[in-house]
Symmetry: C2
Subunit: 249 residues, 2 copies
DNA sequence: TAGTGGTCTAGACCACAGC
DNA sequence: CTGTGGTCTAGACCACTAT
């Protein structure tokens, strides 16, 4: 919630106003010049705030006319995207976690490519069963490069949010690439989730990197149907979402 | 490809340089001041260009150190996200389309909510079977509000890209909200796609809006497994992706 | 301490929408 | 034509990283 920069504060205020329907009559916001005077800042600062809202999908923008308020889905913290536990709590659900297995293991081809390590490099693999309100919801298979693995390995097996622990130790997660598609339950999935082998699961694969661009984790999460959905806003101005051929990239 | 603004040209050049591994030795880009001199523009313009690349996931940024080039998945046009045909062609696949049914119909509750129309308002419904290289790939059920429907209705039934046609008539699509999850084939899906009823399908629901924020289409697309995957980049700086409880929002 | 990106200002001109 | 957002400039100061 803390946001020092003026433009972030202004963005928060405007976002709240838009969500509360402040500008619902036609949906048009005040002009940039008007907002600048209202907040006592320069137009540039107002534009920075509005750029945030445009990227979120909270407002549109178009040369010649005032900005328009959009109805948009509720926002999620970046952190909620990386941490199952944080996400669950934000949804009012009780997260649970059971570590099924963890081990040091040489990197396979996919892991090596995703973590940008030579094949066979030592990495730390963890398989966890994630629960929502006590019921199995997702199987998570994560691989950490050696340096990160050495921080993860000593954590108690029932650690809820590894992500939060990593942040506490100073590992910063700033960017992630996600791929979402469909897969089928293998025998281990089936046993852990309590579904039939071969049953369809929603799959998210994710590579997370730190500010230096170095991969911090590579994870494949498999959700039971009906548990979770991904949402994303895309706009001509700010791309980001993509549609790819199966199993890519 | 055309990009008038200087910062867009600079962004394109830098993107190309990064993708070609220009800055791979450690991955650090020149300083903003350096780039400004190199391109003969002010630092502000360079920063605009870099903001584009940061939002894409092409570079990171962090106070105190130079920017770092990220390995990131290939980019997709916003247009490719909205148009199945355009996307297919960009993947080197031959798109096909068969209109299964189209009709004027009063809006149901979901349609009304998504298109922000009163329940029972007339809208134009279209069901299409989409093909890739001649094989069934996806079933698309789209609803258009009346004004848009009147533009879509007269199009020939085998029109490949309705989206492209709409743009040609001056309908601008600028923003979209996507929800991705898993569903099961109903009898119509099964017949069209040639799968078993009850088989799992990857589902994308999408509301597209114009620059004024008015909904232009509401669509539910159901893909056969193995045909398609969604990718998205998320970062602490530029949120956008979300994870939601099932069936929401 | 030097270099870098983050924030903010004050002004200018342009392209486009809508009257 | 007027008002609006889009682009660009030239400068300033600050917060942070790395040495």
């Amino acid at each position: 919630m803390t946001a020092q920069a003026r433009y972030r504060l202004i963005a928060e205020e405007l976002r709240a106003a838009v969500r509360q329907g402040e500008y619902r009559d036609g949906g048009r916001l005040p002009s940039e010049e008007g907002l600048a005077q209202q907040y006592g800042v320069s137009r540039g600062t107002v534009r920075q705030a509005l750029a945030v809202l445009r990227a979120e999908g909270t407002v549109t923008s178009r040369r010649g006319t005032r900005r328009v308020a959009l109805e948009s889905p509720p926002l999620h913290d970046f952190a909620e995207l990386l941490s199952f536990s944080r996400w669950a709590r934000s949804q009012g659900l009780e997260p649970g976690s059971r570590t099924v297995r963890q081990e040091w293991h040489p990197a396979g081809p996919e892991e090596a490519a995703q973590l940008r390590l030579p094949q066979g490099a030592q990495l730390f693999r963890v398989v966890r069963l994630r629960l929502l309100d006590g019921r199995p919801a997702m199987v998570e298979r994560t691989a950490y490069p050696q340096a990160v693995g050495e921080l993860v390995a000593p954590l108690p097996a029932d650690t809820f949010s590894v992500t939060e622990q990593l942040e506490r130790v100073g590992v910063l997660l700033t960017d992630a690439d996600h791929t979402v598609d469909l897969t089928v339950a293998d025998p281990q999935d089936a046993e852990l989730l309590g579904c039939a082998p071969g049953a369809a699961l929603l799959r998210e694969r994710r590579r997370t990197t730190d500010p230096a661009g170095a991969p911090v984790e590579w994870s494949e999460d498999r959700y039971l149907p009906g548990v979770m959905a991904f949402t994303v806003h895309s706009s001509r101005a700010v791309p980001g979402l993509g549609r790819h051929s199966a199993d890519g990239p």
